[in-house]
Amino acid sequence: MPTELLLFLSGLAAGAFGGLLGLGGGILIVPILTIGFGVPITAAAGVSLVSVIATSAGGAAFNVRNARADVRIGMLLAAGTVVGALTGGVIAGILPDRVLAGLFAALLGYTAVTMGRRLLRRPTARDAEADAIVDPSAVDGPGAPVYRTHRTGPGIGLSFVAGNVSGLLGVGGGVVVVPLMHLVLGAPLTVATATSNFMIGMTAAAGAYAYLFRGDVDPTLAAPMVIGVVIGASFQARVANRIPTTALRLAFIVVLVYVTYEMTLRALGAT
């Protein structure tokens, strides 16, 4: 199979999966390019950041127009993630890579356990009812979602960490943003994934310009991947609401466990 077709199919899968979970797909794209195609990590991170923008752009219009993404909380949290993405390089220069990896592993491992415990807990009728009446497009006031004013300060602080993850690893930061919105702010998982998908494009763009202008985004690698990502992300946005929340949560936990494992290996110096 030609390399271009493999890249296109990889992009299709990353766009669909990344968009569905609000991750952007960078978590898949970086390993695919480095392990599958032997691309150096810097070039892989550059293509990944552009692909994360494509994932966000491909699905966000549908999510915003259909009031699935909360653009208000999204823009507040994006302020934290963009600052975090831009300062990621500075922090990386202060803290050793292995310490950072260990911190991320601990954070993501704790998040995986917390989400796993929620998965095992039987959802009550009150939970489902509370999620169903949330209107992410409501203007602030009596009918506005509670999570918009609930722990916003710590939320923006943690979104800064999400931006750091994005800048350091060349991913969208959704792996932190989605649990942050769902577990810390209390947003329904479907709103958290759609909102994360809306804002990760902005987070990734903050870091992508440097890669792009420096020439670290190879057009021959990026072209088939970006085309696949946009098609995959557009498709997933239209079918996402048919996927049960439990399946979404389970898939997210699997990704968290995988990234925790990778970060632990890096912290131990095994990669």
């Binding site: 271009e4 752009a57 823009m75 870091g207």
Partner: protein, 121 residues
């Protein structure tokens, strides 16, 4: 779900317009560049780490793809600017400040990258 207000509808339009138009234009350019490189006459391969401006100035298929990729990376900036305009019009100061921070930082990142990483000649 309540019916969207005029302000809400305008905000959604300000956000979705750059997303739809920008993404479509970017993907079409990337696809044209990809097809030109695949089906057209062979061109000398772009050397690794060639700055974007040099790739664009050299012309050919890689230049078309690179313009498409640049346009794609400008879509989030256009969305942030759309959010600034939308929240300014609706008078939601809290979100206006958040959007302005995002838009300002993206413009700064773009300008710094353009000025520091583009070739001087």
């Amino acid at each position: 779900m309540s019916r969207p207000t005029a302000d809400e509808d305008r905000l959604a339009t300000l956000l979705t317009l750059p997303l739809r138009v920008g993404t479509l234009a970017a993907v079409v350019l990337v696809a044209i560049g990809f097809l030109l490189s695949w089906l057209g006459p062979p061109e000398p391969a772009v050397k690794a780490h060639t700055p974007l401006v040099e790739t664009i100035m050299s012309g050919g298929a890689a230049a078309v793809t690179s313009i498409g990729l640049l346009l794609l990376t400008l879509v989030p900036l256009a969305v942030a600017v759309g959010a600034v305009i939308g929240f300014w019009r609706s008078g939601e100061r809290r979100y206006l400040v958040g959007s302005a921070v995002v838009a300002g930082l993206l413009v700064a990142s773009l300008l710094v990258s353009l000025l520091l990483l583009a070739p001087s000649t």
